[in-house]
Point group: C2
Chain length 141, copies 2
């Protein structure tokens, strides 16, 4: 029997669903965001608005860099600033009916991609880990 794995798997079958993704809201403080990042163990997570629309991404690097003074990190500024002031608005995203190959192409420069439905509502993320695992399966068989 010829064993074969198709490269063209549906994004929906590879993505982590929204209810399993750590997220913050754009109006949260940096202090809250850093606590969510630290507790979840992730270095970057999506930022959503109240209607679950994608607004950007926030990371430990962006937060710490924004409070970096001369030779010292100024932690007392964390409570004063909001996520929307520091987040990266150019977050990588694609529609849930997009192709695997397009996901692979985008993942070259992004550790994860946000997946949205046709109304622009956030439905999950596609990670480099799941892309690499599928490529490995495809190349092995």
């Amino acid at each position: 029997m010829v064993k074969s794995v198709s490269l063209d798997i549906a994004i929906k079958d590879l993505m982590i669903p929204g209810n399993k993704v750590a997220i913050v809201q754009e109006g949260n403080t940096l202090e809250h965001a850093l606590l969510v990042l630290t507790k979840s163990g992730y270095s970057a997570i999506p930022v959503l608005d109240r209607e679950y629309k994608l607004k950007g991404l926030i990371s430990m690097s962006l937060i710490l860099d924004s409070i970096l003074g001369i030779e010292k990190i100024e932690y007392d500024k964390l409570g004063e600033r909001k996520v929307e002031e520091v987040m990266n608005k150019k977050v990588a995203w694609m529609k849930e009916d997009g192709s695997f190959f397009r996901g692979l192409e985008l993942s070259i420069n992004h550790p994860f991609l946000c997946i949205v439905d046709e109304d622009g509502v956030f439905v999950g993320i596609l990670t480099r880990k799941s892309i690499l695992a599928h490529v490995h399966k495809y190349l092995k068989y």
Copy 2:
């Protein structure tokens, strides 16, 4: 002309050489490590000893998690602790003459792999970005 890219590229041709990699020493304080991570913009970097041998990896997550009290991050502890107390000793590594396919397999669970020579001396890192870029080139042509 049949255009084709071989999957089997030498690790040496894909890796980031050691002199371009941000690293810390195991004896540094967590405060110093967090400053190096924040200034470099990387979320995790290799930890070496004085003979440039690989000891582990340190990340923003590991540092902040180690000073996480109840509902608050205790920043004043950063100056007291050393990298070797908090680093992850199970860092992914391979020899510079290893195969690309082995690198792909390891990168499924590791954002980067440390590359060492036959004496165990650190010579660079292989990142998911460069693995994905090469896979993309291979699948496209």
